[in-house]
Subunit: 266 residues, 4 copies
């Protein structure tokens, strides 16, 4: 049974000096999620260029902000994504993986997977495939405490592994780092989900098993079949909702995601 | 006038525990470099899988090593790459860049470009495009001292920026980080070049200007028209000649690259 | 001519879970600064223990906070510190330094001095002693831009060296790291000063030359003869005004420092 | 019953450019360890200055090396140190600790204790004092694997916590970081011990409980009563056997420590 989401995002940032900004907040159109309605308004005197997202998933736009950037996004999305039983999926030896997945096995800025090989071998040595993936996801879920304000844009999976605290992005980074250390391709996904509390942009992990990607939210806030994907990438670097080549200061920001019934969508 | 290179690589590593290994040492076939002869021998009991390199450039192979890995690579390559006058190339506003280049504007593990925005603005504030690119390359060349043993696999561009020392990989990381901070797409390139001293795998930067990539070797060891590209990527993570999912110890390794004349190639 | 300062600090923090807190906000009594009046009020149900500061300079106190910590500090301080002409001071070879100063030559968490040896040698190679110290201080002053919000508690001198931005603490860290790399003992000092804008706790560097410590404020906000020292140490770790073994959230905080005339002090 | 150790160290390093060197390899004379014989020979044309170690424990010397440094150290030490039953020691609230111990509760370069508060609370939440200390030591012993070559001078306790591998210094750093996160003062100690395999300089942790320091070797190689202390400090920064203000390359180095009987000492 499909999930229907209504999404409303409002952004307002001050930009002290003219700066290029990459905005990435639109739900992606994919075989498993349909954009029933979508509108992105950006107040800007300069032209806006829309480009494809990483891996060709979703889209993002380049803005030139002179002293302020304001954007409003409204969308209705229908998600029809089968939720696989992660634990029962088979392992794929790395030799069987296509070249395009190699990047998702390697360390990245926030997911220094090479550092975690020892822990993964020690703690989960006998596992592989879906059994490994679900054990890692469960471990992150049970050992992390969700707490805002305990992490920032410099926090890597190494920090979260020791602090045992963080927000969705930190859960995703840690799970991605552990999965890569277990030789399971893993990437980070920006998404909208109805149960995120407090409401905000959400980030989850995506693991490659049995020939396709599987969304895994280690915070437990969202199921795979209720996530509206915005962007994918190696880690938060690629999937940030806003990347500023300069500095910006928050004036206001709200993200509202609600589950609707088809009738309400009229 | 094309450059002809003869390349010979021999690798020998001990692998204490069975490990998956990604080997990336073959010169790529591209419009600007032709593989006249090529042979890669790998001593292994397990099957070897060949996959595409990042961005579809070059190829790499997956090995399973049980206690030792030995490989021999021999190739003859003809390079016919026009060397552009970097400084005269025009700037492309980021809004005009295709989505596939965005990753090369963002920070990565070894190239934390966001940290360098202040320095680039302070030192090279008025420049853009090719003038910026060549000023950055020259700055790196003049302020870095090539010295083996002063850096390792944990060394980032931040470290090299302070230590002012390193090897080719550190030069490439620093130039790439600075270029991205200047909003010029930049990536790292693994290559073979005849003048590398001591002979070894080489790494250089590649900057995007006027609609194409331009090779830049900040060490000054190689010109763009005598580099045989092996792989490209965000930084050393992607272009390593060998990535081991486990541990390996060096037994022996030689890299020999010589300029030849066509007659010698028979 | 002595400087007279009037200092008023009010702190108010929420402490979600009971936590031990180390508070270090009292001006130190030293031969060069006299405490004419001083009062520290702390609202706490638990006993407070007062202990000596690092190097026996100043004092700090241990608190146990159960859900909130409030403190008010009022002091009048007379500073009579001769300001040396830094540039003319002679160099002391490290062999002539007492053992207690060695720690101030070594790298510390925020001042990874070993990383900066290359830069210091390259840029200031021929200098030593006071000429080196003043050249380093001037370099930091000219190349850093004071900007709040550009750094945080994870920012090291390596980051500031690349970003060229920060607050007083970042200026101090960078100067200390550079001085140590030049084999000049250097430490960080927490202080009160009248010209700090916006008013806040202040941090400066202290360099050892000709047998004594010399205060140097690379931000240029305060002269050595108008700084009321609170604490000294290897870096911000040691001189923080508040160290929480747990978490705390800011409710309110004001720091006011004014130059007074002796008459006003009655 | 006292332990008698015979220690022999030979160092030989090349120094490409003249550099100041701090050498710290002599066993300390303390109430619990007596230097029966001791000789340190250093081949150097420049005068050597001997200074006190950190906390006044042991001594170190400043050398000026022009192109090579060679040193030979021979000593016979009698250790008479009671080994306390760590687990039974009582907790001291931080408020009861003298000011001189505060530094050993704070984060340092290799022991970022603040990062570990979450883990320590989660895993060892109900414990304190000696029960906490011995639980932490046991945890490190059981979860770390001793393996040379898996760490280097940039490896912090965060890295070891994830890699679960390292050498004595990494064990010490991790235990010290965890103990500080548990509000137990902890420092690093350089020492000689007979059972270190392969023979080398050794590093252990020292925890403060019931009013005194207790040596704890998380590697399990040495007991408290057979360690000859050389130096103490916040982490490896302070206790390094050799600190070079410049660069040096290893030519040869041997460390031999043997348990002797008093008769043999003649």
């Amino acid at each position: 049974m499909p999930t229907h989401l209504s999404i409303a995002v409002d952004l307002d940032y001050g930009v002290p000096e003219p700066a290029d900004i990459l905005l990435q907040i639109e739900a992606a159109a994919t075989p498993e999620q349909r954009l029933d309605e979508q509108e992105l308004l950006i107040w800007s005197d300069d032209p806006i260029a829309t480009i494809a997202g990483e891996e060709g998933i979703g889209q993002r736009c380049w803005l030139r902000a002179t002293n302020r950037i304001q954007a409003a996004y409204r969308a209705k999305v229908t998600i029809d994504r089968p939720a696989a039983a992660l634990a029962s999926l088979a392992a794929t030896p790395v030799r069987g993986l296509p070249g395009t997945l190699v990047a998702y096995l390697l360390p990245s800025r926030y997911c220094p997977a090479d550092r975690f090989e020892g822990f993964v071998r020690q703690k989960f040595g006998g596992l592989s495939g879906g059994a490994m993936a679900s054990a890692l996801a469960e471990w992150v879920h049970e050992h992390m405490t969700y707490r805002a304000g305990t992490s920032d844009s410099a926090t890597t999976a190494l920090h979260s592994f020791a602090s045992r605290m963080g927000v969705c992005r930190d859960y995703a980074h840690l799970l991605v780092a552990l999965a890569r250390a277990a030789e399971i391709p893993a990437r980070c996904v920006a998404a909208y989900a109805p149960g995120v509390d407090p409401p905000d942009f959400h980030a989850v992990a995506e693991l490659w098993l049995e020939g396709r990607w599987h969304l895994v939210d280690a915070t437990g806030m969202a199921r795979a079949d209720e996530l509206a994907i915005v962007a994918v990438g190696r880690d938060a670097t690629d999937i940030a909702f806003m990347t500023i080549f300069g500095t910006a200061t928050l004036i206001g920001q709200t993200v509202a995601v609600q589950r609707t019934t088809p009738a309400e969508r009229g």
